[in-house]
């Protein structure tokens, strides 16, 4: 090809981040998921504004207007856009404030769980030997206890609080990711660039953080994203069982617990469908985004492999 052709096409050099974002932007499902997540974040951020707009605080009980004379919550109407709950509180305002709890606990617990997993996985994988045996046993142990029962026992002994919820979620979530990272570190630390670094006099900490950790960016990002919906559901489950966020602070799990008590949701469907669908949409969005991120960050892994298999299959089936 001539030189002029190259000049005309105007080749731009793109970095890894740029390429990833471009791939992600082309994925319609991921973009929709991102849109939903942005909506939930907006809902959480604008919660006080929604409260002033409607004139309802999240814990105020409107026994006159928000309930029928028989004491039954009213459905969606002009004053209460998404209806009221069993105490005559505004479901929309509580939903917005509940989004704060869900996002806060979900993101915080996922980041903390990832951090623990990275530290344990790196240490076990890099040092090997006795350290690895002990840490791997601990991982096996955490993965084979009845986690929800243990969480209930913990909360009943120490009393429910938001911090304890986060701690419980972290404690029972880090193990699978630590196991994956350990495996990756073991194979990475046998490679030449690690040996080269060691030959240049780098210490263990430097090798782990400077040489090995950047190579784990993809699984760490994908796992952390996928951990967020699990953490959100875990928190909602704890609150649903009355062991998470302490009422009257609104949380989606707590709202569902209110709906469930006395099977009230059978006559007030909005009490289960509003927080329930919010929870479903949020976890669905994070799961779709996690899938999309994995494909965008590491296009070899899934889509390419899929295409390869298809070709192979087509070849074997004339």
């Amino acid at each position: 090809m001539s030189e002029t052709a190259v000049e005309e096409t105007d080749v731009v050099q793109r970095g890894a981040l740029d390429l990833t974002l471009r791939r992600l932007r082309r994925d319609r499902a991921s973009m929709m998921a991102l849109g939903i997540i942005v909506c939930v974040i907006l809902l959480a951020v604008l919660a006080p504004w929604i409260a002033t707009l409607t004139g309802h605080s999240p814990i105020e009980q409107f026994r006159e207007t928000g309930m029928t004379p028989a004491g039954i919550p009213v459905g969606p109407n002009a004053e209460f856009w998404l209806g009221t709950d069993q105490l005559g509180r505004d479901v929309l305002v509580r939903l917005a404030y509940g989004a704060r709890i869900s996002l806060l606990v979900g993101v915080l617990a996922s980041l903390a769980a990832s951090l623990v997993a990275i530290v344990v996985g790196l240490t076990a994988g890099y040092f090997g030997g006795l350290v690895d045996i002990i840490l791997s046993r601990v991982i096996d142990l955490v993965m084979s206890v009845p986690f929800l029962l243990c969480a209930l026992a913990l909360v009943s002994a120490l009393g429910p609080s938001i911090l304890l919820s986060v701690a419980v979620i972290v404690f029972f979530s880090w193990a699978p990711m630590a196991r994956v990272i350990r495996g990756q570190v073991i194979s990475l630390s046998r490679q030449e660039f690690v040996q080269a670094s060691r030959a240049l006099g780098a210490g263990p900490l430097s090798i782990m953080v400077v040489d090995i950790l950047p190579n784990l960016a993809v699984p760490i990002i994908v796992y952390t994203t996928m951990q967020i919906p699990s953490s959100i559901v875990f928190e909602a489950t704890l609150s649903f069982l009355g062991m998470g966020i302490v009422p009257p602070t609104p949380s989606w799990g707590g709202m569902l617990a209110d709906a469930s008590s006395n099977s009230l949701y059978l006559i007030a469907w909005w009490m289960v469908f509003v927080p329930g669908l919010a929870l479903l949409m949020t976890t669905l969005a994070f799961n779709i985004l996690g899938d999309g991120l994995r494909d965008a960050l590491d296009p070899k892994s899934s889509r390419m492999a899929r295409n390869l298999k298809r070709q192979k299959k087509a070849a074997s089936k004339p």
């Binding site: 909602a236 009355g242 469930s260 329930g276 299959k313």
Partner: protein
Amino acid sequence: MIKFLLRRISFGVGVLLALSLFVFFLFFVAPGDPAAMIGGEKASETQLTQIRKNLGLDRPLPEQYVRFLGKAVTGDLGFSYRNQQPVTKIIMRRVPATLSLVIGAVVLWLAIGIPIGVMSARHPGTLRDRLGQAFILVGLSFPTFVLGMMALYCLYFLPRQAGFTLFPAGGYKAFTSDPLIWAWHLALPWMTLALTIAAVYARLTRGQMLEVMGEDYIRTARAKGATERTVVWKHGMRAALTPLVTQLGSDIALLLGGAIVIEQVFGLQGVGALAVQAVNNQDRPIIIGVVLLGGLFIVVANIIVDVLYVLLDPRVR
């Protein structure tokens, strides 16, 4: 094989020991005096001392733990703070409901998850694959209790309003009295618990089948004229099955967690519901008993899964 089994069993014993230590010390450091809970508010100081002495609470902590462990091994987990009945007896009454729920759900989720995964993998990129993948995503994202409440609303309440009974509202009916009524009452809980976990298996089966169906021996099987059904289910599935069995082992804890929530939603009086009640009543012996029983269940189920694994995959032997 024997050595492998012994190693697994000793790990299981380790898990149970760790769990017993965890619950024991958890409740030791927790605020609240057990003697006061048993004696009630009006108990005098001498009565409290007497209760403490009877329970051995005045002994040093390690001694208390060893005594607790020694009794637990023989199945004696003490008495409920609430009604002074033996913990083992209270829990055992609740076991049939939970066991029915859990076993039915496992069968159902394998019966749903594996065929969807196979269907999805056999037609990659087609509409069927997309439907399968949509099922996987929604199933993975649906919180169990939300699905359960929505199912109750749509499949119990709405038909009831329309004037006919499709499913009962919940509750547990003993298998021994009438198996049909038993299954009818458990149908919705089974489906709810199974659907959310079936997604995990559909995804795993899909990935495995995609891999296996590209192998040379599958081509060989096709070349020798085996029908597609034989190729997929006999040759393909056989190789894809082992990771599924491994997954089954690590999902038992998930299953128990799901059972607690499901029992709550459908009003099944099982072990999970007992745990929630005990937590609300601060009935510590019951909580300790349920945690240990849950641990035992997971350990035994994992050993069964390990044996299955060895039987299925001759390479491990």
